[in-house]
Amino acid sequence: MTTLQAGARTQQEKRPIRAQLTGLLLVAPPIALLALLVAWPAVSAISFSLGLIPGNNLLFSQGLHLIRSDHPTFQVYKALWGQPAFRADLALTVGVALWSTLSICVLAYALALYTHFHRHRLATLLRSLYLVPMFVPVVIASYGLLLFFEGRGWLGSLIAQLGAPYRSPIFHQGGVVLGQVWQGIPFGVLLLGAGLEQIAPELLDAARDCGANIWTLLGRVILPLNWTGLLIVATFTFIGGMGSFTIPFLLGPNAPQLLAVEMNNYFGSFDQPQPAVAMAVLTFLIASLAGGLYVFATYRQRKL
């Protein structure tokens, strides 16, 4: 039985100020994590790579070939740029990231379109298939690809049985692209598929009614409605490519190397944290160009 309790809490709705403070308090932990593990390291990495080293730190001072300065200097970057090996690494990294992005965009878009517009069992099968890489840790995937595609791997065996020559992509640029594509397909198809879901079927029927064939439909209706999704996939794939270590470590070439592998060498084996950090900052810069595109894309999408 509902009864009115005299002296019941008289507060009717949380007062806005209190609710706002509670909200901020609850949001604080992940934001603090963001500050601690992204903002602070990024800022300290930049200042470290510019030669500004906290004097009281033993571990830093032990690093080899340390460039120390009391004002920001580009010495570290100049030294890196002076090495032809580094320039080759950089070009290789960007090239691999671009190739991976292009391949994933094309393949994922084809898959997304096919599985979106076909509902028969074949398409259902494809829908389960393209999700498989999501279920597989990247270390395992890389090793599996290594055993399958290497010179004397399964594919090599098959081609040898057929009596044809086989040039393995493994330990070349192609091996890394292969790995990135393998790993990047689920994310790409899911995202592009979600974008396609948002296009009302009537829009496509209307265009077909106007006599558009499949290619016109694709170029004039679907792509323009879905291009932000494509841009997001491209950006994330590119950034992912710039920052992946496992795939190039297991599948990539030895010289030149991808930057992530080189960073790991400098940081660990060579005991030179400063050039490693400078390389990291460089990948941030290159990624921020792509990130700008992403921010633009999501901002645009919110507005639409």
Binding site: T2, L4, A8, Q12
Partner: protein
Amino acid sequence: MSEVAFLALEGLAKSYGSFQAVRALSLQLREGELLSLLGPSGCGKTTTLRMVGGFTAPDQGSIRIAGEDITKYPAEVRPTGMVFQRAALWPHMNVWHNVAFGLKIRRVPRPEIYRRVRETLELVGLPDSGKKYPPQLSGGQAQRIALARALVLRPKVLLLDEPFSNLDAQLRLRLREEVRSIQQLSGLTTLLVTHDQAEALAISDRIAVMESGEVLQECNPADLYTRPANLRVARFVGEMNVLKTELIGGALKLFGECARHHSLDALVDGPVTVAIRPEDLVLEPGQGARIESVSDLGHALQVHLQTAHGPVRAWTSRKTLRPGESVRPGAQRCLLYREDRLLLEISAREVSDAPST
């Protein structure tokens, strides 16, 4: 009102930024009375209901139930039970648990919970639905369960927020009659929010017509239809022809004739706006109005006529047509009307508005 009000809203006001949703609204309900807040969307009726339920805090004014000021109480301690537009049944609980929820919160003893839930489910006509989950219910069943969930707590005031608006026409008619009879049976003081005038007219003891956060008229259903307080109410309730004409020498110029009415005696000459319901117009042989088209409403024929004052709709029963007579487009008719059914307003502003339903 002479009797003591059971639910009393006094000077309620609520603004969202610069938008005034409800302005200085006062209403009194007797115990056991069903009052409908009727108005178009955005008129403030739902905001008013939510202030009574405790979901929106009023900026000003007070709410009293059975003499107790509940304005500051949070929703969970108010003696109100609400039925939402979309039944708002909890999808993760079956019907039984949905209805029993409030009793469990109040730590009512188990046997009593079983008894009251069973009784209430019987009351709403779904005694065997306890094990079903909300997605398995039809729209009408869901609303009945939502009603049961509110009733089982024996609230002092029942709040209904457009509970029938998502149902199809037939079901809506049936369910609203049932709700009305349950409400009368249990003597529940009830506030109903609706934009459906037929619904309000059918089941209310009283109706308050709202627009722009204000009550335009508060009266019983019969008076609302036959004696709307002004043109704004008239347009919202039932069909209405709104015509612009003028008073000359104390006589009203309408449909080609000048008529002197007692009610006009005190009025000054000048432009006036006249409103008259389609069923209060009678077609007679004669001149003054040309038939444009005729449509069949089932219970009557709706005749669209062109007059000197603009288009006019008139409803005429088939029975009143003389043998062999038909209403054909192009024919001329004379329009007669009943003086006591005429609504007149001397206001230049009203004239410019287009007539609506």
